[in-house]
């Protein structure tokens, strides 16, 4: 092997706080020091700030807030896109994801993934030939060049200072839903109450962050009952952390592509 290992590559990180979340960007490889990448990262944060201005449920002057008050007679193109995606997400998850909560319209669970993906496009271009990773409050979009990976740890929902499992990934997205640092924050759309499906967290790997995020939310709301559905969902893999700390996953499932393996204290779910 003449290629440098990932540990030998130049690496740089940026962190900013947008949408109330710490957003970290890591670039590894020659692009880490390029001015093009520097600009792309700046634009990434700027794009997220604009998305927050439009879609925040906390800003009274946002378009989402206007919609909640019934004052959005003329929705923007972005809003129309998000509304269409919300509809698709609701139908794909059989209602486990639903922006129309008892408390009002709230597309936050979908907007973050959508906005991060869109904001990352210039970086994807600028960092060609190098590895990059965007972590938006625990939901991650990444790319690594052939032969290289990023190692992503899955937080222990019982003790967020620890990681339970680590995965070596080279492309795609990974998102986790569950009882996190803020306690219960996922609402079961049908009841309006905090979701309590018996699992502590659900982590989903998918080709895009939008769907990783939506499926993770749905998987957490449904719990292990989501396994047959997610097992059939093309390109998605799921890892549940159960109440007793054990893991159930489709990571080593023969129906998924690529090699898989089971971690300690982990059971494989195979398609029936």
């Amino acid at each position: 092997m003449t290629q440098p290992t990932t540990a030998e590559l130049p690496r740089r990180a940026w962190v900013e706080q947008v949408m109330g979340l710490p957003i970290s960007v890591h670039v590894r490889g020659d692009a880490a020091t390029s001015t093009c990448v520097e600009r792309a990262v700046h634009d990434l944060f700027e794009s997220l700030r604009r998305a927050d201005e439009r879609f925040s449920t906390y800003r009274r002057d946002s378009e989402v807030s206007a919609r909640r008050r019934g004052e959005d007679a003329d929705p923007s193109a972005d809003m129309l896109k998000v509304l269409a995606l919300c509809e698709r997400a609701r139908s794909r998850t059989d209602g486990a994801f639903d922006p129309d909560l008892p408390g009002g319209f709230d597309p936050s669970g979908l907007v973050k993934g959508w906005a991060v993906e869109r904001a990352t496009e210039p970086l994807r271009e600028a960092a060609t030939g190098s590895d990059w990773l965007v972590n938006a409050g625990g939901d991650i979009l990444l790319h690594a060049e052939p032969g290289r990976t990023w190692r992503v740890g899955i937080e222990d929902p019982r003790n967020p200072d620890r990681t339970l499992r680590a995965l070596s990934l080279s492309r795609g997205a990974i998102a986790t839903s569950g009882h996190g640092r803020r306690g219960a924050h996922i609402t079961e759309p049908r009841t309006g109450r905090a979701a309590d499906s018996g699992v502590l967290s659900a982590t989903v790997l998918a080709p895009t962050l939008l769907w990783a995020d939506v499926y993770a939310t749905a998987a957490y709301v449904r719990g292990l009952r989501a396994l047959p559905w997610l097992g059939r969902t093309s390109g998605a893999r799921v890892l549940f952390v159960c109440g007793d700390g054990s893991l159930v996953s489709t990571l080593a499932s023969p129906t998924t592509t690529g090699p898989g393996y089971l971690g300690r204290n982990e059971r494989a779910y195979a398609r029936p």
């Binding site: 290992t5 540990a7 990180a13 990023w150 190692r151 992503v152 740890g153 967020p160 339970l164 803020r182």
Partner: protein, 159 residues
């Protein structure tokens, strides 16, 4: 293998409130009200061992906006122990720096010592400090300074 044990101290508790969701998404540039009352975040682990160190701060609170420098606890990363320092000006983060770097690994060469082979199906010990990023249930800014992700970030921020 040492556990990743984080100490959460009063300065961090102040940051917890400072970076809380409502204040952070308020109107840009000021107008933020950070309540600096002591609090006990629920994430501290039951058994604290050798992972942590004490933290310090030098800050001021004038007209409802917090300014100053806040230092988090030491966290083990693959590059060694890292301590994060955050500079806040009128409620906005203006700088994030690592104040403690891996001691035997000067920044230029720090990563050479970890020339590990990488395979897609490699089994990584989740506690081995070999990880690049952490996925978890929405990490808000309040938990950030005490997080492993913050330490990983700080180890790679341009100094």
């Amino acid at each position: 293998m040492r556990r990743l044990t984080l100490w959460i101290v009063s300065t961090v508790a102040a940051l917890v409130l400072l970076f809380s969701y409502h204040t952070s998404t308020g109107a840009a540039g000021g107008g933020q009200t950070a309540a600096l009352s002591p609090t006990t975040p629920g994430t501290s682990s039951s058994s604290s061992s050798s992972g942590g160190s004490s933290s310090s701060s030098s800050g001021s609170d004038s007209s409802g906006s917090t300014s100053g420098t806040f230092t988090g606890s030491t966290v083990d990363t693959r590059w060694g122990p890292v301590q994060v320092q955050v500079t806040v000006d009128s409620g906005k983060i203006t700088d994030v720096q690592a104040v403690v770097y891996p001691q035997d690994n000067p920044r230029d060469q720090e990563i050479n010592a970890y020339a590990l082979p990488v395979l897609h199906d490699e089994v990584i010990d989740a506690q081995s400090a070999q990880i690049d990023a952490v996925s978890g249930a929405t990490v808000t800014s309040d938990g950030y300074i005490a997080s492993l992700q913050a330490a990983i970030d700080a180890a790679n921020l341009k100094s």
